[in-house]
Amino acid sequence: MNKKAVQWLYKELPDLVSKGVLPQSAADKLCEHYGDIKSMDKKWFVILCSVLGALLIGLGIILIFGHNWEELSRPVRAVLSLLPLMIGQALAMWVVFKRPESQALKEGTATFLSLMVGASIALISQTYNIPGDTPTFILTWMLLIVPLAYLMEATIPAAIFVFGVSAWACHFWNEPLKAFLFWPLLAVVVPHFIWSLQQEKYTIRATILALVMTIGIFIGAGFTLGRSWPGAWIIIYSSLISFFYLLGAWDFKGISTNWQRPFQVLGGLGIFAMMFMLTFRFPWDSITGRYSYAPNEISSWAAIPDNILTFLLVGGALLLFFQYAKRQDWMRTLFGALPLLALIGYAFGGTSAVFPMFMFNVYLLSVSVFRLMTGIRTNSLSVINTGMVMLSALVLARFFDSEINFVLKGLVFIAIGIGFLVTNVGILRRKGGAA
């Protein structure tokens, strides 16, 4: 529930009643309906505590068993490795049967059980010196816990699953067809994510999962997409972060703060990082394949799913970009132009890195200046500050850039400085004229 909105409502209620907009009985009913704001806080605190408690105890058990007690005989260890798992299951079962209404208990026991499944398999590996097949270990563990996200309506097992399958995909950087399974595996938690969005769009649960999914997708994309052409990562990551940014910025109903838009926040940060990186030479050099490793005999048909998904991703990002352009939401359109410019840069980058580098310098400069101006116009300090940070990063990077000669650098700096002063004077004049 949107706490800020409820707080605002409570502040307004006495006024509304006194002015006769609402009868007192209606105001009471509203209070009753939304409940105490404090109790909402407490509920989350309880869930957080139970999750943290379960995580710490679970990890502690894993560590204690990790000591590998020599004194224990093999049969004792075999039983011991099943014991924590069975305790976790008993707790989870008790909650499902007896306390299905408690969110905190469900989340906590599901977290604990998720860790104990891993602990049990790890212990058996230890007892029987099982060869270190880490991907199989991770995947077995993840598949055994992901149903908990649905059966117990618990988000932490889903989050563990996302991290797990990302880690799993990392092991197959040279086997694209296997690594590609990352995407169908990730899709397993999507219904849970949609459910959590529907349940409580304004709270921490969906936000945590969104954060984890964004990070997981960033990692997974690196190991599964664009494997067959060098330098494709420029287009893929540009599209991916723009896609997140523009999707997260979409005006869903009832979202009031940026914290409820993890996709937008992370995407925005990512866009800045990417723009900044592309003002340097090394990304464009990676297109020529000079510094890239030889893709490990990736045959053309093994790259088909990869190519299809890449195509859809780039298409999706561009489609969203045009949507924002159509609505004349210029700030987001400007940010979202990243994949388009990355495509243009990629097309030229194979022959010369100079043009794309120049283009991205101009791009970052325009975005940060536009942000500054927008911030000044709308009187928003946070927008001004982020614009300043972007601009300073660009200025510093170019100042220390050893590739450009001093005279040229000096001239460009002076030109931009003059540009600032002229705009400044222009704005002051306009303001003066308006006043």
Binding site: G66, H67, E70, A78, Q89, I121, L123, I124, I130
Partner: protein, 185 residues
């Protein structure tokens, strides 16, 4: 209906969660009990696994075998490595095949290097778990020992139906755990 379905699926999940580790145990226990025993010459080094604890990584002496005639091998391909014992009682791979051998003991191995007259293989014997503080010492004990005498560290492995379970790690006919204990005194 919905609640019954959830409970039904939940119980199924619990059985599965228990079933996977139990079947892991059962497979290894039966191999340890009924499998054929082999000694593999090896060298131990000490790494660490965040989840499973400390282990000594085993570098089994066998990593190359003659390429079988008329067979194309690929990187990462699974093959069957037939086992034989040499005059010192140490296990050797006599040949590799792509068909499951009808008799004798064999291991499922992975091809690491497919071309040439000798192909590289990786046997599924790569770690031996030890107590937290013992594992780093194992490497030291092995090095001290191999400086004094010949290099004769080996693992005992039980093998059944292509499946291997490492039983013990020995340095000069002494179990590594005992060797470390003596070394500490």
């Amino acid at each position: 209906m919905r609640k019954e379905l959830i409970i039904g699926v939940f119980i199924g999940l619990i059985i599965l969660q228990i079933g996977v580790p139990v079947s892991m145990i059962a497979k290894r226990e039966s191999t340890l009990r009924y499998g054929a025993a082999f000694k593999f010459k090896t060298a131990p080094v000490d790494p660490y696994d965040a989840f499973r604890g400390r282990y000594v990584a085993l570098r089994v002496d066998i990593n190359k075998v003659a390429k079988p005639d008329g067979v194309e091998l690929k990187y990462g391909q699974k093959v069957f490595a037939q086992l034989a014992v040499d005059q010192n009682g140490i296990a050797q791979v006599s040949q590799i095949t792509t068909q499951k051998p009808k008799e004798g003991s064999y291991l499922v191995a992975t091809i690491t290097y497919p071309s040439g007259s000798e192909v590289g293989i990786n046997l599924p014997i790569d770690r031996y778990y030890m107590e937290e503080r013992a594992a780093p010492r194992a490497e030291q004990v092995y090095r001290d020992h191999s400086r004094r005498e010949k290099q004769d560290a080996y693992v005992t492995v039980k093998v059944m139906d292509g499946f291997a379970v490492v039983d013990g790690l020995y340095i000069g006919d002494q179990r590594i755990e005992d060797a470390i204990r003596l070394n500490n005194k």
